[in-house]
Assembly symmetry: D2
Homo-oligomer: 336 residues x 4
């Protein structure tokens, strides 16, 4: 039984983490902190966990959190995590950061997140927390950069094709659609029910900060330059991402060959389910840590469709999966 | 062709007013104002009206609004309208106030809205803008207090029973359910899509500020004390109110008698549709100015169910209906 | 490890059961059956369980189901279960019936469900499966009649008041609001997305078949006649019920006394959470087996508000809770 | 005042038509028919129109419909319209067909709609009812083939680029997202609220029957072969389509040039609003006959985003726009 804490417990990602950890058999939640008016029992903030977790959520105090934690989850906004992570690392804690702060090299980070990085040396140590690609490194990591939600849905969907040299590496189009919790719990007009319901919109096409993360990971796999046009959209639902990805085959390939590539690539993965040509739906994965993927050859195109729950496999669930790996627990504990 | 202005054009009620007025054949929208960073074309703020209305929404300037208006709609928050209305009245304008500021006597107002009233003398002059009850007074009014959304749905639903002495005047229970636009366009966490979607909640049972307005109007009809327990709820939809109202008959009454009472009470009313025992649904009235009402005798109870669109008959539509009456236009102009 | 089967696995209740049972540590799902064109892997029917459950859903065959089961869940429509239950009981199986067939005496059943009962003798043996009221009987039962969703939400909400003689037993009004999965998976126009979304409606006020079930259980508690006007409504959400219940106190009672009554009544219950005067919301309990209850004194009324997930505490979750009790498992297994 | 009838009045398209026509100043609705158990007042079927339209919806009878109509709207399923249209044409009526039956050449039709065409000769006479492209032909037409909803959203979005030779004609990707009313009012499981809500899915990628219609119209404009990969998706909303369309420029082009092309192409069009680089949202156009279009150059791509209400500009509204043109009415009558 290890001791875990969540810093930034009151956002949507923090809430989901708390909910998962409350039922995890190998951990004890020992500290929850957030920007909060006064210390408040988490069951008052999130009545869902009443009876399952009895702990006070407080303003952040490094010493208090540090001394009571083996593993620290940082569920903080981008540009904030980098101020917290190094302290916990110096204190010998394992850190799982759910922000973007340790996913990109400093210069790329600065370009897309608009702020110079204050903890450059730990960026190199951080392991990108996509277990299906980096499990062995995660096992030994002290700092895991938990992937973004959109990148998780896109990278898992096409990594096998990129890896096997099946598709052209330029001109990839990723048209992604996400539920609104991906935008976080912020008091802004654009996130109101009355603005989002009965509506659907595209935003930041070609300029979303998850695009360099997608490109970086695909380039690592390919060993070559990759270009992706990433086009995110908002679905009027709370949770779930569906990505439709359009690629061109580099050479003639059959559906059978594609099926074999995916089946083989993910043969030991519990949380990735390849469905062949059967298109997955958001409802197949919401409230789960699964990523379902279909791939079809259509005329001159290869089209991949993937679905995840943005709060689970796209954030808190994947973070727990990473913790399970880092701590030697059953990788599925708390997640099924 | 009269000149109309909307003060507070950027809330949900203001937006709905602008949308209706843009297609109204007898008016020209001459001024839109709001708390706004910089003058902005209304089509940029509300792309829906692009091509139908071409006017700049500005910060409020009394002289500018006043000189360009025959009728002024105040779509402002409670406690704000009372600072604006007297000036326009003094300038000889007709004023339709969509806030609660002129609906209640000063002492009741202060109790429920938490602020002393600064324009007591105009409260008396104000006519409660429920055309089905006060059409002749509205015709001559210079200041109309446009009713609240919940009160519209409850008062219209049971006025005929109260008027005809059919029901006990104490112990009435009004269980109302509303879409979220009734709460206004405010940047607060409680109104976020991710908080409202997939959810349903009760709030302010017995303590909602619309309760005294309901009681006051029913007492005016009854000429006696009335007690209503008002219990509002939030439906995860944008628009629409359904009120289920439970009453006890004062004496034996038949369904036939009830049907006759309602049919007769509303026989000249275009916007109230009595449906007998057939329960109306929110979808029957959204985006319309209709109020549909059913009434059934069930065991020892008389149950009324009414539906309106909170933004139309519950706010902007009724305001335009009132303007039509005040200005001698066809009462339905702009509303069908 | 016991063997369990689900008859009627393809409805919403069946699907939820399968999902819960797939992760239950003490059971092995050995048989799934339904009206189905051809034998089909459950993962094809419900992609959610892919990787977690690998079993063929088949047309029903009594011998096959019976020989492979210790416990049989009947997730069948009303009027159908009664043809299946006696056979499994005769074969010595434990049966948990999620239909209404064993909840009411035959004459009441016939009146409300429109069909004479073909298995009268087992009705008497059946235990009403509300663990908070009948746990000791459930422990020894071979046939459990799993409660209706609405009754669960209403009975748990007011049983303590009825038990303690706090409220008048006549004139109780239960205004309930439910998500649409309560209506089952049926190919009918009224259940289409385009009919339910953006809508809200009341239906069957005073004539819903769950009313006699509510009355019966409250009368058992009170030992006297009880009258309830039950008014159900449809919320445009998939899951969740909120019931607002209006009662009159029989004598003067304080909020403190009410709080004590509920706290005491439910002191050993994990799945019922009394929240005092804090109104619970549907989102606090969806995807959980909890029932959250608030009770407030408001003027001359006592108002209770309760929430459950209709598919979990209102159906499949409660059925599993009952199985856990019948089989001596941890009552929470599979449910947190 | 002309006489109009709707055949197939009870589907979503028929309902929308009836709603629009009920407020249209130049027409009298003289006949409504559908497959219906018994003659029923339309206000009973669609309570929305109560008080605005008083007419009995009946089973179809050619003589009755024909003698009471100047214009006949066929709001029938594909493969059914072709049995009705020729009779009305022979009787000298103007026919506006909302099905796909007269949009494609017989051999293409047979391939995509799975049935040989029984009225080949009228296909040639039919005018494709996209007023922004074919207004002058529509003016003189006796048979208008009203466009599909998806094709309306895609063709209007990129016609100016195709017309001006700006983009490559192969490799166009149209990723479209639609509300569910586009699937019609059919009692099938896949359209249930509980299947669609909280969900999002892709379907029929590369095999949807609207693809040949899109290609055909673009080829007519280009005078050359065009290839489009059309990928439709279902949004959990009732109304609205957003299409995101990815193209490659044929030569270097500036945003300014693109803006000029669209502004010029649609300069006389009331119902198409070019928004430059500002991405339109579904809420900007629902319940209106507008199509809003943005186009942006992004890296090596030109991306167009368009929105319409599938029931209005994508069906009933466009049908009324066509009628207005055919009959010499103001093109906007009934539509603003």
């Amino acid at each position: 039984m290890i001791k875990v804490s969540v810093v930034g417990a009151t956002g949507y990602t923090g809430e989901e983490l708390v909910d998962i950890l409350a039922s995890h058999k190998d951990v004890k939640v020992t500290s929850l902190s957030a920007i909060i008016d006064k210390p408040t029992n988490i069951a008052e903030l999130f009545p869902r966990v009443r009876g399952r977790l009895d702990i006070i959520c407080k303003s952040f105090d490094f010493d208090e959190v540090s001394k009571s934690s083996d593993v620290v989850f940082l569920a903080l906004p981008h540009r904030v995590s980098m101020d917290f992570a190094p302290k916990f690392l110096n204190a010998g804690k394992k850190v799982i950061d759910l922000s973007a702060d340790y996913r990109l090299p400093p210069e790329v980070y600065e370009k897309w997140y608009g702020k110079g990085h204050s903890d450059v040396k730990n960026i190199e140590k951080a392991v990108y927390g996509l277990p299906e690609l980096y499990r062995s490194q995660i096992k030994k990591a002290s700092l895991v950069a938990n992937p973004g939600c959109y990148p998780t849905s896109v990278i898992l969907a096409i990594a096998p094709l990129v890896k096997n040299g099946v598709v052209e590496l330029t001109g990839i189009i990723a048209d992604s659609k996400s539920g609104i919790t991906g935008a976080g719990r912020k008091a802004v007009i654009d996130l109101l029910f009355a603005e989002i319901a009965d509506n659907f919109k595209a935003y930041k096409i070609g300029s979303h900060q998850h695009m360099p993360e997608i490109v970086q990971e695909l380039e690592k796999i390919a060993g070559k330059d990759v270009s992706v046009l990433f086009a995110p959209h908002i679905i009027p639902i709370r949770r779930g991402i569906l990505s439709t990805i359009y690629m061109k085959p580099k050479k003639k390939v059959s559906q059978k060959e594609i099926n074999d590539i995916y089946t083989n690539f993910y043969k030991d993965e519990f949380f990735v389910r390849f469905t062949g040509e059967t298109l997955p739906q958001v409802k197949d994965v919401v409230y789960t840590n699964f990523c379902d993927i279909a791939v079809k050859i259509i005329d001159e195109n290869i089209v991949a469709v993937s679905v995840i729950d943005n709060l689970v496999k796209g954030a808190a669930g994947q973070a727990v999966q990473n913790m399970n790996i880092m701590c030697g627990f059953d990788e599925r504990e708390g997640l099924i």
